[in-house]
Every structure is written in C-alpha cells, then in structure tokens.
Amino acid sequence: MTSAPGRSAMRMPWAVGRTSRRILRGALPGISLALVMLGIAWLNQRAISYFGLNLMLSLGVPVALATIAQMFVITVNDLDLSIGNFVSFVGCVTATWLRDIPLLGVTVLLAGIALYALMGAVIYLRNVPSIVVTLGMLFVWQGLAILLLPKPGGKAPDWLRGLMTLHTPYVPFPIIAAIIIAVVVHIGLMRTSYGAILRGSGGNPNAIARAGWSLLKTKITMYALAGFFGVLSGLALIGLTTSADANIGKGYTLLSIAGVILGGGEFIGGRVSPIGAVIGALTLTLAGSLLNFMRISPDWQVGAEGAILIIVLAARALINRVEVRAS
C-alpha cells in the first residue's frame, strides 16, 4: 500500500518535480506508518504476525473511527474538543442501556447524533467559534456519562463483543475494518458530488453559497456525520474493552486531531484525506506499541504523540516552503 509512493520519497524533495512533491506530501502518512512498522519489526519480529498485529491494532479501530469523526468537523474549518468525552458517553450508554434495554439505548445514541447536528446548526447560525461550543459540550457529555455510570462497570452487549473479536482468515480483523472504514468514507466524501459540496463548504463557503447550496445544511450534515462516527467509535471501543467508565475515551480528542493532521488534513480549506486519517490513527496506535518495545516509559507516551505531530507538521512545512520557492 505504501511502497510505491514511498520510493519517490527516497529522493530529495527539491530534486523532484511539482507532481512528485504533491505525491510526496500525500505519501507522508504512509511513510510514517511504514517507519513505525519497520521500527516494531526491527525490535520484535514476532510482533509482525497475525496475532501480534491483531493485538496491536485492535484499539486502532475505535481511534480510526473517532479520527474520521474529527475529520468531518475539521473539513468545515472547525475543531471538536468534545469528541473524546462523547465517545466515553456512548461507551457508557452501550455498556448499560444498549445491553439491558436496547430500544432505549438506540434512542439515546440517535439523540446524541441529533445533538451533534444541532451543535453544527448553532455554530453556523450564531456564528460562534466551534472550540467554545465543543468545550462546553465536553462538560455536558462528561456530566451525562458520570450520571449514567458513576463507577466503572457495565458490560458490552454480546453481539458487539463477538463482532470486535472476530477472527477473520489470513488478514487480522482490525486491518480489514480499517480498510472498510477508509474506503467507505473516501468514496462518500471524495468521490460523490455532494461530498465535493461538503468539502467545498470548508474550502470556499462563499462559492458554495452562491452556487445555491445551503451552508447550514452542509454544516449540519458534517456534524451529524461526526456524531455518527463518534457513536461507532464508542461502540467499537466497548466491544474491545467489554466494560465502560466515564473517562474511557478521554484521550481520543487529542488522538483524533493528531490522526487527522498526521493523515495529511489541513486546518483550513476543506483539504482532508479519509484514507490518510485512518492511516494516521493506526500510526498513532502503533506508535504506542513501538514505545513499549523501545522500553520508553509510559510517561512519555503522550509526549511522543505530540513529538510525532510536530515532526510531521515540520516535514510538511518544509515541503511547502520548497514548493513556494520553486514556483
């Protein structure tokens, strides 16, 4: 998957043409993933096996879903600081109501998505910054999660547990799941005409509005999609952990933002890449394992994520600078 563009990256960036530089930039996520994989393979060859990959990557599935959720919000030039706590809330609902009273559970999860859509509408209509609104929502989700599950507990529904621990032949389930997520979102957002409108509403809202599309509708759609993938992320997480607590997804806000950036997403202009975002999420998940293999103290786990983020952004800034100089 990564070898072809990876090869073009072996040459120096300033020695290659304009198209190659674009490919290089597009290949950055793949290169980072390959580097982390190589590092793991070098330190512990047995880790690169069906069982090892299954173990290391399984937590990558909920992270990838949360990253996709964040990507939808970033596409319309916003930032969702509440996604981690939303995933926690979904986790608490899943481990309690969805198991015991499925109808209530499903209704509450749908209401969660509706609240996300409402959030999008409010941010657009009142023209307020997304970080303040989502920061407020962070506390709302956290409050609801604590009310629902004051102490860690609950139990995952059996069907969910079964799905997440599926043993697929030859290729580990997390890899198949990641490919499905990436391809479905890629087709939806990058290959359909309304997907282009959605991205355009982040890139050039005025043009989209003049062409007669409702910016309110695109904002609502993007936030609803973010809510939907946030729900999927919470479900996947509980399927893996089997029980929930009110802070279970806390780290996902930062992970998801880092994943989108690592995957080549830009903050302004609706430039995102679903495939890149999924690769970015997997890279961050594997980076955790790599640090373990390197015997780096877990204290530095978060710091390493930050460092990876800064290195990738620095690499991108370098490529952009070379590009500006060349043109």
């Binding site: 930032l79 409010v122 657009y124 209509l125 009142r126 023209n127 307020v128 910054p129 970080i131 303040v132 609104v133 920061l135 407020g136 929502m137 962070l138 506390f139 709302v140 956290q142 409050g143 609801l144 999660a145 604590i146 009310l147 629902l148 004051p150 809202p205 509005a209 910016l215 930062l254 933002i257 880092a258 950036i261 903050f267 302004i268 103290s297 204290d299 530095w300 786990q301 978060v302 710091g303 390493a304 994520e305 930050g306 460092a307 983020l309 800064i310 952004l313 620095a314 800034a317 952009n320």
Partner: protein
C-alpha cells in the same frame, strides 16, 4: 464561603487574563497549553522551593521561567511551522504534559509554610491573593488600553493586515502575547500549588475551560480585537458562585459538569458571533 469563592475566582481571573490576551489577537488564537503549563509549573515550583522558606522567590522564578519557556516554544511552533495556534499549543501541551508526568512523578513536597500562608492569608476577610489580583487586573487594564503593546494587540485582533501596514511589529507583539500567557500560566501553577498545599498534574485541568469561559462570558470578543478586563472578574465570580450554589444543593458531580457546560454554551449562543453569519 465568600472568602473561599474569592480565592478560587482569583485563579480563573489570572488564567483568564492570559487567555484574554491570546484570544484578543484574533480568530484561531487560543492557548490550549495552559492546563499542562500550570501542571508542570506547579511541580517545578514545589521542587525548587523544596519546602524551605528561603527558596520561595527562587521557586516562583523557576515557575515563571518554565511558563515563559513554554510561551516561547508555542510561538516558535506557530511561526516556524506556520500552523494555527490551536494546533501548535495543543501539540506543545502533549509534550509539556509528558514532561510534567515524568518530572512530577511521586512528587509529594509540601509548599514552604510561609508560601502556603501567603496564598491563604486574609485581610478583613478578603484573601490577600484577591487584593493582589485586583491590583494586577487594574494594571492589565492599563497595559491593554494605555500602552503601545496593548493597543497593538487590539489592532492586530481587529485586522492584522491593517495593523501591519500601519507599522506595528505584528510578529513581535504576537510573540510577546504568547510569552505573557505562558508566564501567567507558570505563576498560577505556583500559586495553585501553594493554595492546595502541593502540586499535582491535574491541578490545571479545569483552567482550560475556566480561562476560556471567563473570557467569553466576561464580554471579550471571541473573534478578537475587543477585550474586557472587568468582565473577567464578573464572569469568574459568577462561575464560582454557580458552582457554590450547586454544591449547596448537594448535586452530584455529573449535574455540576452538565450545568457548567450548558451555561457556557448558553452564554456564547446568546452573545453570538462578532461578525454577521455568511
């Protein structure tokens, strides 16, 4: 109760001043590294003071330097990588957080008695810290409205291109603003460690929301260029009293979070954006 409320409001006001300067710089400017900064600075201060009264000044200086360093690092990332401040301060906060965890592991040093005393001493029922902060905010008001630096921050927030054309050293002002924010974060870390009788990493966690909330509720424009210093006090007291009231009713932590979140969203919706939609 009012005394305790005032003391808690003080920390929201100090971090709020830090966030206010940054937010006033214009859309996209926000310092997300404040909580991590406060956590690290609280550990640094306690370690340097090491429980000894002679080292109080040194500890405060160390916390201040840590904060200034973080501010410089934030600005460096913004400038060198040309990334939005939100992302720069977020990535920096990852690293600061790890540094804090690693540095402060198992740290159980009590603040020097004189320092702990200083953070909770009262004059006629009013905490000394609150009086100090009130004087400090008056200074902030003068800095913001009467000095070249403050006027420049406001100008950049209104239109950074116009500010640049009129000869304002935009980048230098932005750098100074992030350094001020970092420095205030460092100082509040040290003071919090004194007030709560010890440092902890989570000590600054609530000040991300609190600092932004105080700024927004206090009437500073979120799209920059318009700051309101007295509003910080109003908003901080409002939030503290709200929490005190909820505590008196004996509601659970869940409800408290829920109400805080809803109040902030309610205020921001009511205030609306500075520029018309579209």
């Amino acid at each position: 109760m009012i005394t305790a409320g005032l003391a808690l409001a003080v920390f929201s006001v100090i971090t709020g001043v830090a966030q206010m300067f940054v937010i006033t710089l214009g859309p996209g400017n926000v310092d997300l590294s404040l909580p991590a900064n406060i956590g690290l600075a609280s550990a640094v201060a306690m370690k340097v003071m090491n429980g000894s009264d002679q080292m109080i000044a040194a500890g405060l200086m160390a916390a201040l330097s840590a904060g200034i360093g973080i501010g410089l690092a934030n600005y460096g990332l913004i400038r060198l990588l040309r990334i939005p401040p939100i992302i720069a301060t977020l990535s920096a906060s990852f690293i600061i957080q790890s540094a804090g965890i690693s540095y402060g592991r198992g740290l159980q040093i009590k603040p020097p008695p004189a320092f702990a005393e200083f953070t909770s001493v009262q004059l006629a029922g009013v905490p000394l810290l609150a009086i100090g902060t009130a004087v400090f905010t008056v200074g902030v008001g003068i800095l913001l409205h009467q000095t070249i630096y403050g006027r420049s921050v406001l100008a950049i927030g209104q239109n950074s291109r116009a500010a640049w054309f009129s000869g304002i050293a935009v980048e230098r002002i932005r750098c100074a603003t992030y350094v001020i924010s970092g420095a205030l974060g460092g100082i509040s870390g040290a003071l919090l460690a004194g007030y709560f009788r010890g440092s902890s990493l989570e000590i600054g966690d609530e000040y991300l929301l609190a600092s932004i909330a105080v700024v927004v509720i206090g009437g500073t424009s979120v799209s920059g260029g318009k700051a309101n210093v007295p509003g910080l006090w109003g908003a901080a007291l409002f939030l503290v009293l709200l929490l005190t009231m909820l505590n008196t009713f004996g509601v659970s932590a869940g409800i408290r979070f829920l109400v805080t979140g809803l109040v902030i969203i309610g205020v921001i919706i009511a205030a609306g954006g500075y520029k018309p939609a579209g």
